[in-house]
């Protein structure tokens, strides 16, 4: 077998074992069990085993099914953008800011739109950080402005401009009906219209954000679940070096 072809792994190479759970609008019965089995089969599960069938609401059944999936993906064909910056240590970051810029880098961040989930952006920006990983404020080389929650794009842009921000950090946690995409996109449009999009590093973050999405929306990078502060700092540095921001 081509080693780049991935199949599900239960306990032995190639067994294709996957687990599914779902609800069908039918009360438990032998026919309902058969329906669940066929439903699983439609997904490409061979020899599906209906492990449980329980009435979870009147006239609805909940099923857990195991089966051998016939599907596979070719890993060699998958190419997604990843943030490839090498992650620097705290000392490296501090030194490089000193040597390359000779001044503090200004960073402005917010949780925008109607989103009030500040914990993520605080984790990246605030001194205290999250789970022992201290935020950018704890670095001598950064001057940090955290505008908090529910900040409108215009407001964020205005503050960033006034502060001569080197980087703008946007957090989007609420993703219902893709409001995060619209909202993030709107910021980019606004900065472009104002003509200074290119002068600033723009980062997007949140649990449902990935680098690919951020790039598509016009950001320089995207950071998802479990992002470490040093990774963000390293990326900002590298990117600023690329766009050649002057020693203000």
């Amino acid at each position: 077998m081509d080693s780049s072809v991935l199949r599900a792994y239960g306990d032995r190479q190639g067994d294709g074992m996957v687990q599914m759970s779902f609800v069908l609008q039918v009360a438990p019965s032998a026919r309902a069990r058969e329906a669940a089995k066929r439903f699983a089969e439609k997904h490409g599960l061979k020899e599906p085993l209906v492990a449980t069938m329980e009435e979870c609401a009147k006239g609805y059944s909940y099923f857990v099914v195991y089966g051998h999936s016939v599907h596979s993906v070719d890993f060699s064909e998958i190419d997604v953008p990843e943030v490839r910056t090498e992650s620097l240590s705290r000392t490296e970051i501090e030194e490089r800011i000193k040597s390359q810029f000779g001044r503090k880098l200004v960073v402005v961040g917010a949780c925008t739109g109607s989103d009030a989930h500040t914990v993520g952006i605080d984790a990246i920006l605030n001194y205290k950080g999250y789970a022992g990983d201290k935020g950018l404020e704890s670095y001598k080389g950064f001057d940090v402005y955290n505008l908090g929650a529910q900040v409108e794009n215009e407001q964020l842009a205005a503050r960033a401009r006034a502060l001569k921000a080197d980087a703008i950090l946007v957090s989007q946690v609420i993703t219902q009906r893709n409001c995060h995409k619209e909202n993030a996109q709107a910021l980019i449009d606004f900065l472009r219209a104002e003509g200074w999009r290119k002068d600033v590093v723009l980062l997007l973050g949140g649990p449902r954000i990935d680098h690919k999405l951020a790039l598509e929306l016009g950001f320089d990078a995207g950071f998802g679940t479990g992002t470490k502060v040093a990774d963000v700092a390293s990326f900002i540095l590298e990117r600023l070096e690329q766009i050649g921001v002057p020693h203000k």
């Binding site: 609800v23 979870c56 609401a57 219902q176």
Partner: protein, 516 residues
């Protein structure tokens, strides 16, 4: 029953300080009103409907006179003036206020006494509506067997009120005692209450009076079907907190999320506005004998739950003090707290027990609201389910009153039907298998659990002293709660705050303040 050591002297001091803190604010409250409060009164008199843009008439009328600078006499004064100038009904008066010829200065030359007299039948009717709803609700509830604590509380949030109704029944089928319909993400920032039944919500379903009715009907049907009283909950929070309190009161809601400070901290609602609105909302809630759920649990989703445990307790004393000032009795105070300590922390379970037990003992006659882990949940739904099981265990062992059930999909989406089903199933199991655990164990008097409880109360007292020293206005400015800092004039809705004129009148509020 297992217990932790509680220094009753310290508790008394905390209560005393919280009282002083609230008194300071209450003076401010009593001199002010807000557009939200006035809209509430207009609705309470019976004004209904929206304009051709869908803006509620209550808003149109109140905003118009607020702009005109005449609202400081109170919307009741204006209604009375319209009635005296020929309006035939409250609705007619409201429509005139909204769309009619602007009232002349002269029409306002009525005294508060005249206002009260003119509105007496309408004031009585408003109060009677609350009372009738309360009586009906209490009678219905009494017709079912009592349920033992913790009550099992789940949320539904499909965005479509008819689906929500279906899910309400499904939740009842699976064993829920309380169903809350979650609101759309930004409703708390809206300075009006949407109208009618919602079928296209945004991560939740709007709180509207029609929606309340639809869910009440579904819950009532479920009560009959399953022979258990199904409680209904919604949010009296945000820029319309007092209007929603009114709607909840007359539509027979059993509980309302309602907090003296949540809006300030988590929704950036202006402090002044929020303090005024919470007071009036609570006056209504007190009359309706609805149980409130306060929002201190949110502090721990924002700040670290070990470091900031005491902020929850301090805030509960403050919430209690504010509530007492609005006529709420202890049996209506569902003070919020939560199981939010980082599960990776060794012995974190002991800290959770300590906190839960401490709060249970300090607020012994209060229907404590106990919130599940959320912040440290991940997309690993299997593990998340176990995390909730440990939470359930503390809930039953420390005898919490109202338990919001954890959902294994917390980090992923609003709970689906089966997520709720499985959560209820697991909770029923833990509650039953551990039914008398709390009666069977004792905590070592000098152990980790006891020490933690002592420490949290200590720290809470210290924080309360600081808040008293600085005043609550300043303390919120310094980030005393949830690490969030707000200023007195910042935040949303400040423009809707106004000082009461010396001849301000609010007959409904006056009756509520006088009590039965």
């Amino acid at each position: 029953m297992a217990s932790v050591p509680v220094d009753l002297g310290q508790v008394e001091q905390c209560r005393k300080i919280a009282s002083d803190i609230a008194d300071d604010v209450q003076k401010y409250i009593d001199r002010h009103t807000s557009v939200g409060v006035e809209r509430t009164m207009l609705r309470a008199f019976g004004a209904e409907g929206v304009d051709d843009q869908g803006v509620p008439i209550a808003n149109v009328a109140v905003d118009r006179y607020h702009r005109a600078g005449l609202l400081s006499r109170g919307i009741s004064t204006l209604v009375a003036a319209e009635l005296l100038s020929g309006a035939t009904t409250i609705q007619d008066a409201a429509e005139r206020l909204a769309f009619g010829v602007a009232l002349e200065e002269s029409a306002l030359k009525i005294t508060p006494e005249q206002v009260r007299a003119t509105l007496k039948p309408h004031t009585d009717a408003a109060i009677a509506r609350i009372d009738a709803a309360r009586i009906q609700r209490q009678a219905t509830k009494a017709s079912y067997p009592p349920v033992s604590n913790p009550l099992k509380y789940v949320i539904v949030a499909t965005g479509n009120i008819y689906d929500d109704a279906l899910q309400t029944k499904a939740a009842a089928f699976a064993g829920a005692d309380i169903v809350a319909v979650i609101r759309a993400t930004a409703q708390s920032l809206l300075d009006y209450v949407p109208q009618g039944a919602t079928t296209e919500g945004y991560g939740g379903t709007f709180a509207t009076q029609e929606n309340f009715k639809i869910i009440r009907r579904a819950a009532d049907e479920a009560s009959v079907e399953f022979g258990r009283y199904i409680h209904q909950t919604n949010y009296s929070s945000g820029l319309c907190m007092s209007e929603i309190a009114w709607m909840g009161a007359v539509e027979r809601l059993d509980m309302l999320l309602n907090d003296a400070m949540y809006g300030i901290l988590f929704r950036d609602i202006n402090m002044c506005r929020n303090f005024i609105d919470q007071y009036v909302s609570r006056r209504i809630i007190a009359r309706a004998k609805i149980v409130i759920n306060t929002g201190e649990d949110n502090y721990l989703t924002t700040s670290d739950a070990v470091e900031k445990a005491h902020t929850v307790l301090s805030s509960q004393f403050i919430n209690e003090a504010f509530a007492h000032r609005a006529g709420l009795t202890d049996d209506l105070l569902g003070l919020g707290h939560a199981y939010e300590i980082d599960p990776k922390l060794e012995d974190s379970f002991l800290l959770e027990i300590a906190q839960a037990q401490l709060i249970r003992q300090i607020f012994a006659s209060h229907p404590i609201k106990w919130m599940p882990p959320t912040k440290h949940k991940t997309g690993d739904i299997f593990h998340s389910h176990v995390h909730d099981a440990m939470f359930n265990l503390v809930g039953i062992t420390t005898n919490q009153s109202i338990e919001l059930l954890g959902m294994f999909s917390e980090a992923i989406h609003n709970p689906m039907l089966v997520d709720r089903y499985l959560s209820l199933k697991a909770t029923r199991y833990v509650f039953s298998t551990c039914k008398h655990l709390g009666d069977e164990i004792e905590f070592k008097p000098d152990g980790r659990i006891a020490k933690r409880a002592v420490q949290v109360l200590d720290e809470a007292l210290t924080l309360l002293r600081e808040v008293e020293r600085d005043s609550i206005w300043e303390s919120i400015g310094n980030g005393a709660f949830a690490d969030v800092k707000r200023t007195r004039t910042g935040g949303r809705g400040f423009a809707g705050v106004l000082e009461r004129a010396h001849d301000y009148a609010n007959p409904i509020l006056e009756v509520l303040e006088r009590g039965a």
